[in-house]
Structure formats: structure tokens, C-alpha cells
């Protein structure tokens, strides 16, 4: 336990672990609110350094304060600013001091604390939070060192464990498989059959990985046009999709049709026109859109929703196993960093020794 009267490194906040989305919405800071709240924090007595990590899954304050009392004041200030009950916040808050605060930041940055275990976007968000703190001069020698080392250690964990390997969402698994077949997706033509939510997500995933050529076919042409406009793609009346099959490398099927849409015969005919080029069929529909017999065709790769979900589950299981190794590494790093910080802190501001 920290002595409440000595300088303290702390983290305080709420995340998806304890806070449902309805509450996270209330706690989230918009850009305007963030600017306003930071001006208040600048005047908070005893708060020497701070940074705010504000993402869709968490609002967290990382800081260096003269005493633990300051942390409680920060909480009261935040709740008052957001019109949130202090008692309710106390029930959901995540709070750690000193070495544990460092450990928390390390785990957050390495993606161990994320909803999608091992995701890498969070590191960028932590970097943004630190950059924002630097620009408003709210970080000093302690947090500078903590954040800079955090980036280094998070990268180390990503390199030395398989925590980020293998995709864990169906859309990203599909894109990963496509790269195993086509390599660079820039030259692959994608045909989207159905313009529903899952098709939309998959198209986004493909585009984020470099796919440029996309055609959308839907029974509702206006919906196809709407989705196509989002991706700068072409829209097609649904009955015309067979004409595109031979020109497509990847076909993403997600229609609500009760019967088979893409027959084995249609695939066979298309492959006759492009025998040397593989065709990747992604069937995300239930009931299935693609005749399973299509997979028998040479150079045809067919994956349905179950196949993709199974791969995602396997990848997640592998990441979970790696999490133990990653946590061990980060614990070691947190101990090291904490011992360095507590030794190097000026005598007057001496931080607590590790417990």
C-alpha cells in the first residue's frame, strides 16, 4: 500500500471490463470536453503530470500526483464535470498505484487489456494520448519516461510473443486467407454479393488491406449503390452478377436468399475462362449462398462462415495462451521500470518503494 502523503504514480478510469457501453458513452470525453476538462486538471492541486487515454473502450487518467488524496480529488472533479455519480464511478473504476499503474499501462498498450485481445490499434491511441499530453505540457520527467518505455516494451512483447498473430474477427480472417492466396490484394477484383452489414464489414477489411477493385451486387440496387459509393466501387443489378464471376478473384457472398445463389456449374464455367487464376469464395450467408460442390473445382477455395469462425476461435485461443507469456514479460519490465523511476525520482519527490 502507498503512503497517502507521498508522491504517487497512478492510473484511474473505467474500461469495458467493468463498464457497459451505456455508461462508457456518458464517461467519454469529446474533443471540446477534453480541452475544457484539461484546463480544470491543470489547476488541480497536487497533480504534477497527467495524460488522458480516451477511446471507445476506456477513459483512463495516468498521472503523477503529490499524494493519493489528489487522485480522489481528480475522480470527484471528473464525475462533477461529466454529471456522473461519484459513488457509481467508484463501483466501476479501475485504479492502480505505482508499479501496478505501470503494469496496467503496459498491458493496455500491448493489447492485453483490449476487448479484442492483442489488437494493435490501442498502441496508436496511447501514443496519441501521450502526444496530446506533450502538446499541452501536462507530462514531465516521470510520465515521459513511463510512456517512452511503455512504447518500447509494448513493441518488444509484440515482437517476442505471438500475441498479435492470427486474425480474430471473421472479416479479417477472410482477408488474411485472401492474402495467402493472392499475396498483394491491390490487383485482386472483389465481387460482393449482398450488401448487408457483414458484407460491408468484410469489404471495409479488404479495402483497409489494399484492395482497390470492388463491385457490389444486391437485390436492392439502391442499397448496392449506397455501399458502392462508400467504397468508391461499382454497383450492379443482382441478376448481372454471373457476368462478373469470371473477372472476379474474390467473391464475398452474404445474401439473405433461402436457396443456393452460386452454383457449382456457374463456378466451373467461370473457371474455364480463367483456369490459372485462383478463385476465392467467401460464403458468409446462412443458409449458405455457395454450393459446397464448388470447392471441388480446381484452383477454387471455398470458406463458409463456420470455417472462418473456427479459424478466428483458434487464433484467439493461441493469443490467449500467448497472453501468459506476454504478461510475464511485462511484469518483469514493469518491475524494472518502477525500480528505476523510484530510484531516480528527486529526493523531495521520492516515490514509494516497490511493495
Amino acid at each position: 500500500m502507498s503512503d497517502p502523503s507521498t508522491p504517487t504514480l497512478f492510473t484511474l478510469g473505467a474500461s469495458h471490463h467493468t463498464t457497459p457501453i451505456e455508461l462508457r458513452e456518458k464517461l467519454a470525453l469529446t474533443a471540446d470536453k477534453m480541452a475544457l476538462f484539461c484546463t480544470r486538471l491543470n489547476q488541480l492541486a497536487g497533480l504534477r503530470e497527467y495524460a488522458v487515454l480516451n477511446t471507445c473502450n476506456r477513459v483512463e487518467f495516468y498521472g503523477y500526483a503529490t499524494s493519493a488524496e489528489t487522485v480522489e480529488n481528480l475522480q470527484r472533479e471528473f464525475c462533477a464535470f461529466q454529471g456522473f455519480s461519484d459513488a457509481e464511478f467508484s463501483a466501476i473504476r479501475q485504479h492502480a498505484l505505482d508499479r501496478d499503474a505501470i503494469q496496467h499501462l503496459l498491458e493496455v498498450s500491448a493489447g492485453l487489456d483490449s476487448q479484442m485481445l492483442g489488437e494493435t490499434e490501442i498502441l496508436g491511441q496511447v501514443k496519441d494520448a501521450y502526444a496530446a499530453a506533450q502538446s499541452r505540457h501536462s507530462v514531465g520527467p516521470v510520465l515521459n519516461r513511463v510512456f517512452q518505455k511503455t512504447f518500447q516494451y509494448a513493441k518488444h512483447v509484440r515482437t517476442h510473443t505471438a500475441i498479435t498473430e492470427g486474425q480474430i474477427s471473421v472479416a479479417n480472417v477472410a482477408v488474411d486467407l485472401a492474402t495467402k492466396i493472392f499475396g498483394n490484394l491491390a490487383n485482386a477484383h472483389i465481387l460482393l454479393l449482398g450488401a448487408g452489414e457483414i458484407g460491408d464489414k468484410t469489404a471495409k477489411a479488404f479495402q483497409s488491406r489494399g484492395a482497390r477493385s470492388l463491385t457490389v451486387a444486391s437485390r436492392r440496387l439502391e442499397r448496392a449503390q449506397e455501399l458502392a459509393a462508400t467504397f468508391n466501387a461499382a454497383a450492379l443489378p443482382f441478376e448481372q452478377w454471373p457476368t462478373q464471376l469470371a473477372h472476379s478473384d474474390i467473391v464475398v457472398c452474404s445474401t439473405a436468399a433461402p436457396e443456393t445463389v452460386v452454383t457449382a456449374k456457374a463456378i466451373l464455367n467461370a473457371m474455364k475462362k480463367r483456369p490459372a487464376r485462383p478463385l476465392f469464395l467467401i460464403d458468409l450467408a446462412l443458409p449458405r449462398d455457395v454450393d459446397p460442390a464448388a470447392a471441388e473445382g480446381e484452383n477454387v477455395f471455398l470458406y463458409n462462415l463456420d470455417d472462418l469462425a473456427k479459424i478466428a476461435e483458434e487464433n484467439l485461443a493461441a493469443r490467449t495462451t500467448e497472453m501468459i507469456r506476454a504478461r510475464e514479460i511485462l511484469t518483469e519490465k514493469a518491475n524494472l521500470l518502477w525500480s528505476q523511476i523510484s530510484k531516480n525520482a528527486p529526493a523531495a519527490n521520492r516515490l514509494n518503494a516497490p511493495t
Partner: protein
């Protein structure tokens, strides 16, 4: 040192190739991507040392060291490795270095542990023409290209197997894409056929002047291998022989090409031979 013979250098080279293969295997078994730079470095070191060994032999023979089965295997490994060193960084095919190390280690070690293959060495160029030697060296280099083609074909089959059977983790996760492997295989097939055609053309020019110097069965064997690779290339170009069928064909053809080295070598034993003595690096 008199004991530092050409074979010693070739043993060192084989050991470096084997080291690359073993380190790559260990990394893959631990589910880790091996360092491509280290693999490249090991193979480069192996290649340089093998070049020294083969140069010593060549110097002693006063010609290209492709006079017996041992040297033919060594030269094939050397050709495949040299090609890898050129195309490896260009195409950046993951695991190609690992497979090349495996192939080169296999060919060099097998040749080194078979004393009979190096028991007799020819000391004269058959026909006394440097063009014939050029023909033989070019033909052997095309075998190196076909060796690399066999490797990319194996990688292609493994990737297709992994995608069709849903074995995507571990070793399979490091394989290059199907399309990349198909493209590189096609290019290697083209390059191999062009090189072998050039080799046979040079040999033909010599043969029409001295038909007695080459036995018919040698022409039949090399001609068949060239013709089969050429047919495979045409069929691939026409989109008839593709995907797994092409990959299996390339692997089988390279197997046949390796086996053909025996009869081809035997056909040249009419020329003066000498019991092999190790060639020292320093006289």
C-alpha cells in the same frame, strides 16, 4: 595446409547449408519466423565456400568441375543456390531460403558421403572443345533452375494443401501466397527451358561435326528431359497444365533429371579418367 582440400571446403559449405536448414527448422518448430537476413547470410557463406571448393577442383581439372556424379550434384546445388541468392531478395518469398538450404544441404551431403561418386574423375574435356564444356555447364545450371522450380512447386503444394485442409497455423502460416508461388514457378520454368535450350543448341553444333562422340542414349535422355519441360511450359502457357498438376509435374521432372545424371555421366566415361585425388588449396 595439404589437408585443406577442395573436399574440405565443400564439407564446410555443406555444413553451413545444413546449419541454415537446422536453424530454420528449429524456428519453425517454435512457431517463429526465422530471420531471413541470417538465412541469406548463411547461404551466402555456404555459396562462397562451395565456390572456393569447386574452383580448386576446376583449377586442377583445367575445366568446369562436372566430371563425375559427385561434381554434378555439387554443381546442381551451387547453381540452385546462386539463383536463390539472385531471386531471393527480388521476390522476397518467405521460406524459399529455408527450402534452398534444405536442398543444397541434401545434395552436397549426399554427394560427400558417397565415396564411389567421386572415385573417378575425367581429366580431359570430351571432344577437346571449350564449347562442349560451356554446353555441359549451361545444362547443369538449368538443372539448378529446375531444382529451385521443384522447391517452389513443393511450397505451392503445401500452401494449397494448407488452404484446402484448413491447416493454417505453424509452419504453413509462413508460406508465400499461391499466386506468388505460381508466378515464380512459371518464370523459373521459362528460365530453365531457355537455359537448357541454349545448352542443347551449343551441344548440337558440336554433335553435328562429331556424331560419334555422344552416345544415342545420352541424346535421348537429355532430349526427353528438355522436351518434357518444354511441353510443360507450353501447356502452362496455354492454361492446360496448371496448379497442382503443374507442380507435381515439375517435381517429378526434377526427380527424373537427377536420376538421368547417372546415365549421362556414364556416357562420358569413354574419355580418359583418373582416380580422384583431393585437390589441395595450397600446393
Amino acid at each position: 595446409m595439404d589437408t585443406f582440400t577442395d573436399r574440405t571446403w565443400l564439407w564446410f559449405a555443406a555444413t553451413l547449408y545444413l546449419t541454415g536448414f537446422v536453424l530454420g527448422t528449429v524456428a519453425l518448430l517454435r512457431d517463429r519466423r526465422h530471420s531471413r537476413a541470417w538465412m541469406y547470410l548463411l547461404i551466402t557463406a555456404g555459396f562462397i565456400i562451395q565456390t572456393v571448393g569447386l574452383s580448386l577442383r576446376g583449377k586442377a581439372l583445367q575445366g568446369c568441375p562436372i566430371t563425375n556424379i559427385f561434381e554434378l550434384f555439387q554443381f546442381t546445388a551451387w547453381s540452385a543456390t546462386s539463383l536463390y541468392l539472385v531471386i531471393g531478395p527480388t521476390f522476397r518469398l518467405s521460406l524459399l531460403g529455408y527450402f534452398t538450404a534444405c536442398l543444397s544441404a541434401s545434395l552436397t551431403f549426399v554427394s560427400l558421403v558417397m565415396p564411389a561418386w567421386d572415385a573417378v574423375r575425367r581429366m580431359k574435356i570430351p571432344g577437346g572443345s571449350p564449347w562442349i564444356e560451356f554446353h555441359a555447364a549451361l545444362a547443369m545450371f538449368s538443372y539448378g533452375v529446375f531444382a529451385l522450380l521443384a522447391l517452389t512447386s513443393i511450397m505451392y503444394l503445401l500452401q494449397v494443401f494448407s488452404l484446402q485442409r484448413r491447416h493454417l497455423r505453424g509452419f504453413f502460416s509462413f508460406l508465400p501466397s499461391v499466386v506468388d508461388l505460381d508466378h515464380i514457378s512459371y518464370r523459373l520454368l521459362c528460365a530453365g527451358v531457355v537455359l537448357m535450350s541454349a545448352a542443347l543448341s551449343v551441344g548440337y553444333v558440336h554433335w553435328i561435326h562429331d556424331r560419334e562422340s555422344v552416345p544415342f542414349y545420352k541424346i535421348l535422355i537429355t532430349g526427353s528431359i528438355w522436351a518434357t519441360y518444354s511441353v510443360a511450359l507450353v501447356l502452362r502457357w496455354r492454361g492446360i497444365l496448371i496448379t497442382k498438376r503443374l507442380a507435381w509435374t515439375c517435381i517429378a521432372l526434377f526427380g527424373a533429371a537427377l536420376i538421368s545424371l547417372g546415365p549421362i555421366n556414364a556416357s562420358r566415361n569413354k574419355t580418359p579418367t583418373t582416380p580422384a585425388a583431393p585437390t589441395a588449396s595450397q600446393p
